[in-house]
């Protein structure tokens, strides 16, 4: 197990390096730092001094890949690529354009992001599975058909519609909760109820339909026939046998997204004014803050890889037939 984990982590390194190369090419090769400076300073006639100053502040004033002015190994290390990559791996993300430390910002914003993403994930999973079980229990009946139609209709509605309609109905018309904002402690509840509810509802269509196909696939297997032949009631077959076995693909599919919950949801957070990582990213995109976007890309990839490792581990936990070697 330990050896396996170690190998997985070693295997993750080239992937992270690849991510770093991709972001580097995107951010520094497609456009030179001079272009970015000109775009960022925003004025038509920027002086070369202003550009140089902007670059120096961010450490972009070195050669990109190969520094010919120094000799030896320093020719490769004294470059933008090397310095930026090494600092990424050390979780030193540098400063945003407004001068704040990105790493600290990420730490403080993770809480609000999780406060939304975690309930949406947990409640959503429970609701989707229950809805799917209900449809499977009444399979091949009008109830099942109506459920599938509802699912297809719900997944055809844009996620933005759920948010806009929810905000309008609940906050503006019925005045039940504030439209947007955030507070710490217990006060957070009234700000979180609506975004969480909307997050759950907008996921039902695709989720329940997916779980329904999983359950139906499981229903066709031999052990289900055996269980029925033994004379077990349909509820016992469904909840004791099918649900348990279908939990393996459900759980492993869910585990991979758990680390990504830290990143928060871009759309929900910015609509509801939640100071999480999602809205941080959107603000950075709109302000064209390259350092923040780079940091978030790196963080997202890292969390995704963590999710893959967790998936492998969870396989062994729920399915004793699988052993990691």
């Amino acid at each position: 197990m330990t050896a396996y984990l170690l190998r997985r982590i070693l295997y993750a390194l080239p992937i992270l390096l690849g991510v770093n190369v991709i972001t580097f090419v995107l951010f520094f090769m497609v456009n030179t730092p001079d272009d970015m400076a000109r775009m960022n300073l925003g004025v038509k006639h920027v002086t070369q001094e202003a550009i140089d100053k902007w670059k120096a502040e961010r450490g972009y004033d070195k050669p990109l890949l190969y520094n010919a002015s120094v000799s030896g190994a320093k020719a490769l290390t004294d470059t933008v690529f090397f310095e930026k990559s090494v600092s990424m791996f050390a979780f030193d993300f540098g400063r945003a354009d407004d001068g704040r430390d990105i790493a600290r910002e990420i730490k403080t914003r993770m809480g609000p992001s999780l406060a939304i993403a975690l309930p949406v994930f947990a409640v959503g999973l429970a609701v989707n599975i229950s809805f799917a079980l209900l449809m499977v229990f009444f399979r091949a009946s009008y109830l099942d058909f109506a459920g599938v139609v509802l699912c297809v209709a719900m997944m055809s509605i844009s996620g933005l519609f759920y948010i806009i309609a929810g905000q309008y109905l609940v906050s503006k018309l019925w005045h039940l909760v504030p439209i947007s904002g955030f507070a710490g402690g217990l006060d957070a509840f009234k700000f979180l109820v609506l975004p969480v509810a909307i997050g759950v509802v907008s996921g039902i269509g695709a989720g329940a339909r997916w779980y329904r196909t999983l359950f139906l696939e499981e229903m066709g297997k031999d052990y289900v026939r055996t269980a029925r032949a033994k004379g077990l009631a349909e509820t016992a077959v469904l909840f004791r046998h099918v649900l348990k076995n279908a939990l393996i693909p459900i759980l492993t599919g869910a585990v991979v997204v758990i680390p990504l919950l830290f990143m928060g949801s871009l759309i929900t957070e910015s609509f509801f004014g939640i100071p999480g990582l999602g809205s941080y990213t959107i603000d950075a995109i709109n302000a064209q803050d390259f350092a923040v976007v780079r940091a978030m890309v790196f963080l997202g990839s890292l969390l995704y890889i963590v999710g893959l490792v967790l998936t492998d581990i969870s396989y062994t936990l729920v399915d004793p037939r699988i052993r990691l070697e």
Partner: protein
Amino acid sequence: MFQPVILWTDALIFLLLAAVTAFFVYARRQPHLRDPLRRVAQSRAGMVSMVVLAAYVAIGLLDSLHFRPALPGKPGAGVQYAVETLSVLDKLATPLRERNEKTYSAPFATHAYAKEVVELPDGREVRDFPRLKYGGAHLVDPEAWLSDVLVRTLKAETLALATWLLAALALCAWLAHRNAGSLSTTWRAVWRGETPIPWRAGLLTLGLLLLLVFPALALSTHYHVLGTDKVGQDVLFQTLKSVRTGLVIGTLTTLVMLPFAVLLGIMAGYFRGWIDDLIQYLYTTLNSIPGVLLIAAAVLMMQVWMESNPDLFDTVAARADARLFFLCAILGVTSWTGLCRLLRGEALKLREMEYIQAAHAFGVSHWRIIGRHLLPNVMHIVLITVVMDFSGLVLAEAVLSYVGVGVDPTMQSWGNMINSARLEMARDPMVWWTLAAAFLFMFALVLFANLFADTVRDAFDPRTRR
């Protein structure tokens, strides 16, 4: 007198159209593709969704024929062309395009949304809702707009019914001619739903569609059927223009990513060894970057690049089009990994089959095996993925435009419409029509695309075949 303009996405759309036509011609001769295609046509959901999707595609294609009209110049002088690029749809909808009000107005409104200082005939000035310049301008008594609308709707519906009957008759005549039957028996068979292809469902959908389209067209010449937006543009026109953007994103993205996904996926599964490792590494790396962030980063960089190379694009339309194409490309980069992985697994399985082993033993070259034996046998996976991805991409456009990394702000799209209208929710009375129009048109497209995708999957997936 006009100068045709072929934008990048136009060219690709017509390339795609040619590819689809070629596929159908090819599939007609291949039993393993012809039978599932027939099953798609024979399902009622497939028929209904095809009729609706055809309407969307027709709008999109009309909007993809671009030209620059000639300016009225002095005789003798060389012909000058306008800077503005128009499409055939723009030309057809000229009244909708040019009859702009000052600002917001509700659907079917005769008066503006906001109060203004109006001069009365006797010279006094009062603050009141002014009459619209075009919406209901022909009415002497604006209070009577409802009866006017009803009369016009009724006329249009009669015309719609007549057109529909003609279409139904034409279809039955064609069917009777093809099956060498009489018109009356064919007519009865169609309406009893006894034909193998569910023509009845198709005709009923067409009828409903005509009943909606005709009155909308008839009324749009005298009213703003879906209201006007902040700068007074007709919302119906905007939604119609957005259809092309949605279709382009949904189809061209897959067209862009398809060659990579198919080639790399099959290569990884067929050759195995270091090629497999390399390709797997490539798609795991790309996959591990969160999609929205990669798109955001790429679009940001493209903005900088466009900013520093402004002379590459001669018109605003060309610039917006380049951005749309780039968005499709970057969406393709983020979305090919799923198909690639599926194809790799399938190729791994297929390469051990006897017929491939036999081809190998006969000394057939690797590329010939891939082209003649592997590719046709994974076509169904490719087709299912392409159709399934479409609706997700249409929905993604709206979200990306909200984040600020979607299509060009000057381009009409549902995402841009929603984005510009969502801040107006706070107004009182509420400005709801832009949002409603964008969501409704998007919902219809995505819903029927989903239904169609399900039909295609059921027909082509060997696991669901009985």
